[in-house]
Amino acid sequence: MFYPVQKFADFVVFKLLNIRQGTKLASALNFFIFDTIKIFILLFIIVFVITFIRSYFSPEKTRSMLARSKGKTFLTHILAALFGIVTPFCSCSAVPLFIGFVEAGIPLGVTFSYLIAAPMVNEVALGLLYANFGLKIALIYIISGEIIAIISGIIIGKLGLEKYVEDYVFRIKVGNVQEFEEKKTMKMRLKETLNFTLELIKKVWVYVVVGIGIGAWMHGYIPAGALASLAGRHNPFAVFIATLIGIPLYSNAAGIIPLVSEFRRLGVSMGTSLAFMMSVTALSLPEMILLRRVLKPKLLAVFVAIVGSGIILTGYLFNIILG
């Protein structure tokens, strides 16, 4: 599929820039051009497809479905976590969504399964993982994100933490929640999807290119295996530390994933890399500050601890499975 891209990279480096084949500069530049184009093509396709699927779902529909399937059954949690992937919302909607869900009588644990799954499975991260590491790793990313969301929600539900939700939340009366969606033709839907995809790529492209650039630099100057003793699979603390480092970093998932392949070359294990990436995308400081408006500190701490533990466990699990 990427044969023409390779042709193009060869043409630019060997013909246009006239750099001799076989030199370090030529191979680094060739790699950079090929990789950048490949990643953007895959990123575009994946974000487009996910955005298109998402145009058929909405949090309003999710809310009414979850409210109807009363109870805290296992199935409700699975449903909530699945909806979390496919419903689109920006992180500043986390608070109104939380209030809206609780008000509709959806159990706290189920609400959390939904709210955890949404940022955990991030379309840009998914696209970049697929572009860099293939289908298997991308699937592992989705499945482990879902499992963490389901289990965290169940635990939070079992702990009975409703009293740690800010009191005003229960007093808010939600107005008539309507489906504001106008009837959309397929053409409108595709056009909206295309616009959104282009907007998103415009927002993240700098991070991606900088990430690839730093990766290319590391490729040339840092020897393979340099981090193996520090963050290899034999250091029992690697996953733990990587997760902690990832929590305060945010929105740079787009810049971190292109780097992960370099981390791998330097000896960082896959589980550690995945844990790092998940903690970057799923536990972010800005979102916690937002959630603080509806959750008392204790519940917020429980939330961070449970999701963090889930990520750490996943990291260790994949270090065992993938090495």
């Binding site: 949090p59 500043c92 608070v95 005003y168 808010i172």
Partner: protein, 80 residues
Amino acid sequence: MIVKILGGGCANCKKLMENAKKAAEELGISAQFEEVKDYEKILGYGVMRTPALVVNEKVMFSGRVAGVEEIKKILKKENA
């Protein structure tokens, strides 16, 4: 005409406000703009996804930033 933007004050909300002001300006409609950041009020409109556009107390859409052209169409219709 009263135009309200519902949202917690994130970048998307600001962008929507900008687009709405531009749309009104281009149409030559005199409108009164208001930012609604209070979650109680936002949810009172039945809105769970921000940002949302409210024109004369009617929710037009929620959860996305519409372009200037689209908002112009909405304002024209509401102004008629």
